[in-house]
Homo-oligomer: 393 residues x 2
């Protein structure tokens, strides 16, 4: 660009966003069996219902929906959202804010709270997209150790004492990428530590309604005493990710700051999209829809787990109670990226686990998604993966 070099902002110094994008470019080829994404299955996406609801809400309140809306949200949706949080998530929110997908909730929370250099504690591994978000706010990401039940409270307390973090970012239910679920007593402990030390908890819980066995657990937020926990919710997995509607719920003081941040992020979440989700809740369409999705995903998860069982002498893997992902640890020294390269030649794809670690490494791990393949594709793809893994051992 002419004689002057273009200088990007320093927040991009360590963010390229490229590794995963390259994978997704490769796997977009026709005929690929992809265990790589985190997408709902196409059958789970209610296109006919959404079409009917769009017509309904545009007929009933079309002018208001197409006009500028309040940053605080579309009033009828605020009402049904509070009902949804009370009835489905199980706590009474002090304040709620509809957002443009729960990704925006994380962005706004960082905007409100994080100065460059502030420490955020993260599960290790954790969700890639939000790791990138926190890096763009130039946070100092410090991993907290987990065991098979997720975050270890004693480790969390040690890290809090050592790093005086501003925030903990956690996905307590059917975690991305591991599929692990934090037990109730640990959730309580996390809330207690947050209140004791004054640490904000970003409780990211987009998968909680996708439970295939076991009992629903109380949210971390439900154990919160003084407002340190902010709950981030999503309709992407239970209605549609393409609509981009999520929410945050927590203390008024914090959500007020997020609302001011949202004014200059996108002014407000599209009214039509809020109204469609509002109708989904209001017309009580969610329970039946979620049940149908869960039936389908449970079958797929069990199919994939049955294949992994064949490898149980050489690999470790999680046995989730819900969600979209299974996490696999290959024998030490085996490289999931090499495995991926071979798998892609046989038209099977997944995401190497190293990308989910704030501190990289862990090259013998990988994430498998089962929701976005048919049972036949799961059989075909897993047979190929099994063969490749057994060859490499």
């Amino acid at each position: 660009m002419s004689a002057h070099p273009l200088q990007f902002a320093h927040r991009f110094d360590h963010v390229s966003g490229s590794a995963i994008r390259e994978i997704f470019k490769v796997i977009a080829k026709p005929g690929m069996i992809s265990f790589a994404g985190g997408n709902p299955s196409l059958q789970a996406l209610p296109d006919e219902i959404v079409s009917d609801l769009a017509v309904k809400v545009l007929r009933e309140d079309g002018k208001a929906l197409l006009q500028y809306g309040a940053t605080e949200g579309y009033p009828p949706f605020l009402e049904s959202l509070r009902d949804f949080i009370r009835d489905s998530v199980g706590f009474i929110p002090e304040a709620v804010l509809p957002v443009t997908g729960s990704t925006q909730a994380m962005d706004l929370l960082c905007k409100a709270l994080i100065d460059p250099g502030d420490t955020i504690l993260v599960e290790n591994p954790s969700f890639l997209g939000n790791l990138q978000c926190m890096k763009l706010y130039q946070a100092n990401l410090v991993p907290v150790d987990s065991d098979e039940s997720g975050l270890i409270p004693e480790e969390l307390e040690k890290k809090i004492q050592e790093y005086h973090p501003k925030m903990l970012y956690t996905i307590p239910t059917f975690q991305n990428p591991t599929g692990k679920t934090l037990p109730a007593e640990r959730r309580k402990k996390v809330a207690e530590l947050a209140n004791l030390y004054g640490v904000i908890v970003a409780e990211d819980d987009p998968y909680r309604d996708l439970r295939y066995r076991g009992e629903p657990l109380p949210s971390i937020k439900s154990f919160d005493r003084d407002g340190w926990v902010v709950f981030l919710g999503s309709f992407s997995k239970i209605i549609s990710p393409g609509l981009r509607v999520g929410f945050m719920a927590g203390k008024q003081e914090i959500l007020r700051k997020c609302t001011i941040g949202k004014q200059s992020s996108d002014v407000h979440t599209a009214n039509l999209n809020q109204a469609i989700v509002d109708q989904f809740i209001r017309m009580n369409l969610l329970p039946g829809h979620i049940q149908a999705i869960c039936r389908d995903y449970a079958l797929k998860m069990n199919r994939m787990l049955a294949h992994l069982e064949d490898l149980s002498e050489v690999i470790h893997y999680t046995k989730p109670e819900g969600g979209l992902f299974i996490w696999v640890e290959l024998p030490a020294g085996m490289d999931a990226q090499s495995l991926l390269n071979q798998a892609i030649e046989s038209k099977v794809a997944f995401v190497p686990g190293t990308h989910f670690y704030a501190d990289g490494a862990h090259i013998n791990t990988l994430r498998l998604n089962f929701s976005n393949s048919t049972p036949d594709q799961i059989d075909e793809g897993m047979n190929i993966l099994k063969k490749l893994i057994l060859q490499a051992v």
Copy 2:
């Protein structure tokens, strides 16, 4: 909050967002004649067309629309957007990025380019929402002087030499809040200075299609040689603000960075909303719709100008060729806030001009919007304002 004080990020130290919000709360009362917002008129919002288009796109590509989309945009929309930019705005874009309203374009551009302390040159006065955006990126906002034709190129060059800014933010056509339009030769000069000194120009042009007289002007971007100008476009004023669809167009290298930033802002702009705007362009519905809007707004603007003519001996005001706003300078020493307080008692509202100045002051200025009132409301409201102003002189 317990024993620990909650510490918000320093980017909020000088951003309260409250002054204007308070005004909008007051004017939301029933019966208020509001010249305060920047809203399209309700009649201009095509609710029936949008309903038909929603059904059409959900029938034709519903599953893909409800699934996750690419951050880069919905492919059919990328195609029609390029056509729209070429045919309507008048340049061939190197790269385009659909965004969640053009407010997000400004946010992403700042995210890509602005470190705390970087200087951004701004028109004085300028659009409040984007001033807040730049403040949240902790930019050093430096005003550039304008005359009745807008930004003065000689002043711009002086400020560039003095401050070595990273960016210039400008609204060249029917500016918000002044309604001023930058002449073609100045647009060319701005592009030349940007290329000569290596300064990014954020050319924010949401009103360009709302022209009621005079000839369309080439964009600053059309004079750009090396890619220093980024064009920010919007469908809020010509289709619907509630849908939240805008775009940015410029050099690939810059838009790539904005795309990575958008991944963790909201992943992608809602597909359904992109598809609806795509159909508007593709089915050639825009020209007729814009013509109808312009006919309506021209009438309203002229009505308001006729009233202001009655005050021409005591006030100065702009005579825009289009857009949504007229800018008024009361006699020196008169306070627009006091005028507003009185006006609100008579159920008339507007926005005092001081809020649009990066450096405050200018308490004798105010902004009037004409699009969102009926001709009768304009008569009634302006008669009240005229009376109050003449009493105060």
